[in-house]
Structure formats: C-alpha cells, structure tokens
Symmetry: C2
Amino acid sequence: MSLGEDFLDSAERPPERPATPDAEGFLRERAMTYACDVREVPLGALARWRLGDDLAHDTRRFFTVEGVAVETNFGRTPRWTQPILMQPEIGLLGFLAKRIAGTLYLLAQAKMEPGNQVLVQFSPTVQATPSNYTRVHGGRPTPYLDRFLGSARGRVLVDQLQSEQGSRYYRKRNRNMIVEVPEDEDLPLERDFAWLTLGQLRGLLARGNRVNMNARTVLSCIAYAGAAPRSGAVLASHLAPCAAEELQDALSWLADVKTAFHLDTRRIRLGELTDWIADDQSIRHVRGRFFRVIGVSVSAGNREVDAWAQPMIAPTQQAHVVFLCQRRAGVLQLLVQARVEPGFIDRVELGPTVQIALHDEIRREELPPLAEYLDAPAERVRFSAVQSEDGGRFYHQQTIHRVIELPENEPLDVPPGYRWMSLALLKRLMRRGYIVDIEARSAMACLG
Amino acid sequence: MSLGEDFLDSAERPPERPATPDAEGFLRERAMTYACDVREVPLGALARWRLGDDLAHDTRRFFTVEGVAVETNFGRTPRWTQPILMQPEIGLLGFLAKRIAGTLYLLAQAKMEPGNQVLVQFSPTVQATPSNYTRVHGGRPTPYLDRFLGSARGRVLVDQLQSEQGSRYYRKRNRNMIVEVPEDEDLPLERDFAWLTLGQLRGLLARGNRVNMNARTVLSCIAYAGAAPRSGAVLASHLAPCAAEELQDALSWLADVKTAFHLDTRRIRLGELTDWIADDQSIRHVRGRFFRVIGVSVSAGNREVDAWAQPMIAPTQQAHVVFLCQRRAGVLQLLVQARVEPGFIDRVELGPTVQIALHDEIRREELPPLAEYLDAPAERVRFSAVQSEDGGRFYHQQTIHRVIELPENEPLDVPPGYRWMSLALLKRLMRRGYIVDIEARSAMACLG
C-alpha cells in the first residue's frame, strides 16, 4: 500500500494557508499554561509503590521494575544481570490525519511529560495504554480515542506494532497508527491540539526536543515508496523502488544473523541482581553505570490526574545515535547494525550505525565499531539534534541524534553484522514490525 | 514476490517423466532398510540427562524441559503451570528445488524419526539445528547444508521464520526455506533422497502419515498468488488477489486482538509446578491430563548417530484440527481463530477453526466454539487425514486433520476472535512470520 501520495503534499509543498502558522509559538504558549513541579524523591517515598521481589504499584497495574539475567554471544559481555521495565500492555500511539484544502495534516498534541527536560513537546494525538484509556487511575477520558479503536475508526494509513528500547524494556511494544478522518467531518479541536503538516514537524525535529519520542516513532512509519517523485534528496531516496530480491536478500541476511546469535533472558527477583543495589533510595549500579531507577514526584496542570509519583529510569551516561549514510549507485543508503538486546521480541533488530551510551571510564577498546564517527567533521554532518526519550518513563534522558554523510565513493570497511540499506528497504522491513529498533526509527523520523 | 509461476507446474501438471515415479514405493523401500528399536524408558535411565530445576542434557545443549507459570485472559483457565520445551536454537527446515525438463521438483528425504508411529516419512531436504549441523553430538555431516547457508546458497524461493507449537515450546521458531539450484548443476543424489513434484507431495499428504510435520510447515509457505490462473478449486482460491485494504484490515484486527488479550509467561523451576509430578519415571499431570515427558531409547540404522536416548513429549489426549471453509463472494475462505498460547513469540497467532486435544473427562461446556464440526457429515468433509507431529520431540503424537466445507450460503455465527480469511490473505500474513500457528499451517499444507 502506498502512503506516498497521501503524505508527499504534506511534506514537500507548503500549504497556502497553514492550519497552525506558528507551531513553535503554539508550543510555547501551551507550555506557559502548565504550572508544574517535578522532583526526584526516594523510592521509599512513592506512596503506593512497593519494593520487594520487584518494584510494583499496589494494584500491579501500569508497569513493574523487575530483574533479568542475560546470556548472549553478541557484544563484549557474555552474561549480566540488570533491572528492566515490564509493561506488557500494548500502548496506542496514534496521529489523526485530515485533508484540509488539499493538504494532509496531522493532529499533534502539546503534551507535558514529567521526565523531559523540555517539559512540553508535540506528541501524537493519542498516546495511551489500555490502563490509561480504561481509566484505571481515574483520570480524564482520552480525546479522539474512538477514531482509533472500535467502530468509529477512520481510514487506516499506518498500523504497525513496533518495539521500544530493548535494553530498558522487556518485550515492550506499542501500536503505531495514523488514521485519516474525512475532510468534511466536524472534529472539535480540543485545547492542546494543533493540525500540523509533515513539513512543519520536520522543521521542529531539526531543532530538537520539540517532537517527543512517541511522535517520532509514528512518523518513522510513513513511507513514500511508490509515490510520484518530487524534489528533495532524502525523499527521492525513498522513491527508489525496493526490488523483491532486495527485500528477500535482506530478510535472509536477518535470518542468518538471528541464527548466529543466541540470547537467553531470564526474569529474576531484584534481590538476585548482581552488581546492583536496590534500596529505599533507588536501584543503582554499584559503580554508577548505566542508569538508576528513581522516584519522581509530579504536580501538573493538565495531565490525566493532577499530582502523582512514580518510578522512572534516570540515565547516568550520555546516549548517542549515529547513522552513516552514503549515496551508493545513485541511491542514498544507511548503514544499519544487527543488534541483540535483552528485551527484544525476537532477539535481533536493526539499529543505527552507532548506538552507544558513553561514560567517563570507557576505554577505547570497549567502543563499538565505527564509534570514531561520533567526531565526524562538521561538513559531513547532515543532521544533528538532541531528542528526548519517553518522558513518561525516562527522567532527563536525551539522545544526541546525528546523521553523517560519507562522500559518494569513499570506501568503508563494513563490519560483520552491518549492512547498507536504502530507506525504502528499511521502511518495507519496518512494516513487518519488530525489525527496526526505536533508536533507528527515531533517527529515520528526523531524516524524513 | 510471486512464487506462483515456479510452483504451478509442479502442483498441477503431471510431468512427462516423473523423477521418482513411485514415491510410496520409495518410502516403503527406505523404511525396510531401517532396523530400528524404539522403547519408552524411565527418565532416570537416560544416561546424560539430569532432572533438577529443569530436565537437561549434561552439556546443556539440544533442548531442556522447564516449567512455566502462565496468566492470561484468553480461554477458560486464567492461570496454570506446565512443563514446556525450551529450544532457543533456530532450526533449519529446507527443501532444495530444481527445474527438471520444465517441471519444478523438491528434494525430499526419507527420514526415520523415533517418535512417529509411521517411522519413516518424507522430510525436507535438510532439517537440522545448529547443534546438529555443527555436529555437537559427533554425528555425520548434514547433506546439502551448504546450499542453504553460506556462500553456496541457491536462489531463495522461500525464507520465513515460523513458530512451533506454542502450548509445548517456549518461543520456538524454525527457519522455513526453499532454495532453487540451477537446472544444469550436477547435484549428487544421496541414498535417502528423492525428487518429488508438489503434486506427488499433495497425494502423499492426502493419505496421511507420509509427509512429516517439518515438511508440511515448509510446504505451507508456498503461495501462488500472482500466478496465472489454472484449474483446481483450491489453487484458484489462492489466485484471487488479496487487496491492500484486505491485508491492512486483517492486520488492524490482529492488533486489536493482541491489545485485548494479555499473557504473562514466567519461567519457573520444575519443582514449582503445581498439579504436576516430576520424578525418575516421568513428568506427568496429577490427573493424567495433557501430556507426559518420558524417556525414549532408540537404536536406529542411519540417523546422525546410531543409538541414543532422550526425553520426549507423549500426549495423553487425541489432538484434532478442523478448518471450516466456505465459498464466500466467489472466493474460498477459511475461518481462523486468534489464539493465545504461552509459548507464542508475540502472544497471539491465528489457528484453525478448531484446535483441541480431547480427553475422556471433557464436559460439553468446556468445548471451544464450533467443536460440533468435529462430527460433520461425510459429504461436507473435504479433507481428512492423520498427520504426525515432530517425531524428534513428540512420541506417538498424531493429529487428525479435517477440512469441512460449508455450503455457499449457509449462515454461521462467527464467534468473537474468529475471522474469515482467504488462503491468499493467510499466505500474505504468513510471510511476516509468527502470525499463523503451526496447526493452521499444517492444515493449509494439506489444502495446497
């Protein structure tokens, strides 16, 4: 199915009268209305959360923090234990789309998320778990939900199950949707919502910290392949057809990689973690590595409930994603890496060229292949921006996104487990779900 | 990618000179050369297997039997514990294909599997795990392996990761391949191997217990959609195009179902099983239900090693699969059921209309919807045959396969979680992997 025709107008051609001419201004204006206080607190101070074999709400809803023992032949570390987020519910991340005067718009929500350093960013129209929208915690109803679920569902443009961070979540997935409502439908515009073109969202993405992670993963699902070619180097690379043989070759390569790597992830009690301390203060690594599980207390103006406290993941290392790209035989290709992470649904997914969290003690020989491109010269940097991770679960977790372009004929030794792929091929693979990891999808959203 | 053109000749038109004119005779002849003794023995008599927190080989290779604690809102039982097979390796199930005088043939192997009641059946060219083919247990090399893996790989016609029994295996999957070698390639024909057309394999499937489970799952991956229409009602139903909207609707329905059902499968020690006894004799349910884990001692002529002993799963109930089909708006459709099983990779897969293991104590109200079609009148039975499950892991496990056709306009109340799908649509879904369960795939292989 080609979504290209639907989206090209929204991405490429500025509309005659934009629905929301000043998207930045809208965001700033909404942000000012939020009186919000977010503070780190000890885990022991979280009213209804209990630390025992796991860390759980006394209803056992929302999510839990548990332990996993991991064994794998991928990477430098053959076995370890770590805390991990367990959230078996499938969340809904959905953008409503509508054609207005010939241009397709997406309905974005200005949403406050307590973990984000830039507190208010654009999210999809709906981002909610079944616990949210069935209102387990007694919050407000979720606007526009009925257009995604049930009999009032609009025309489905995108509907994909995709994974989340496999190093932080155990087999978490979300449902990424874009649903179109008829142009003549009178859809009431709720307070925090604005109709934006894809072009506007691209501009916000380029500036960083304005489009939240959930919005980025949905945007990454849009494929233009099959649409009539227009201008724009990146879009043009989508439009190069992905031949059936190219897809089959990539799938066979992926099956080869899945056969070569093994992964055993066993759920354990928090008390069985080695090298981690779990107490009333936090759950943390003995040498301060990786991340901490902390308590966060929030009082906010217009979330589903007005004040709450919850555990969050706070990084202790700076995360980077780097995509190397190169025009190869006339088509822009990205260098992907087959990665094993303990929480992946099916062991291996494709990540960006470099996906790393740096810390002070790291030694040169511990760096993954191609890490030297973290310091690429400015003239090769095609995209660079700081983006936030899910501010509902991560506290001040920001990832530096970079796309580095190699000159057309510059040779590169491709390490084992890495492969050049066109954007069109990656989008074909993405449609199957659980193949392209969230770090790669986030960077792809920035690329367009 | 359309495989239709490749396979239609093999399925529909009898070749002028079949490569193996008497496939049944070949199978009988090979069976007679096997001097083979298979006996049930106590678990405690298995030389290198240890029963403790799990049941494992002292190398910890091959597979283990562990416990799982299951919680789900699917079906009648909200929580239970059970033993389950853990086999994280991705096995290879591969048919070589070759065009001979214009007809495509598949290279089948007459293979003895100790668990099968009909000991020697046709298997794929290769069925092996990495443990087999890297020869952990010191066996013989795997013939033709290099045509599937590595640089001598032929032209890939099918390459799909598919699940196995989700009620017996924890997240097990196999790689299903069909690889074509060039017509002019001089491929030595090893002793147990025969070139068969798809038409011959169909005939063997209809008689039952001649085509093993691993062969059936690979055959089920063949899709004809896109090929030029020819005769044959079942094939014609493949050829009805599956529209993009039909695929998207089915995927959205599947995502709805995955969101509605939850499943929590937690690995536990065998000693933590409730209602199960694990001792030196066997692992068995206190009321004799479901299955037993037993020891089996084998002495055989031409498997990878000559004598061995291993645990196997022995059923205590008779398994049935029933597919209801009906010509609807001119296209043959199958009634599939969205099922949750503890070992599925992603919680829900599509099974046949009825998938059940019957036991003597079962009460009418415990039967699943549409179980009455187990007793459909003979004139509605379009296919009926007894097929064996994997004889390398299951002991005397046979499943009665039936396809029941409803008259074109006979109404049927479709229960929630059930849906009519064309074969073409099911094959499109199958290509994504982990969507159609092995019981449905086995029945689909019989349908063609």
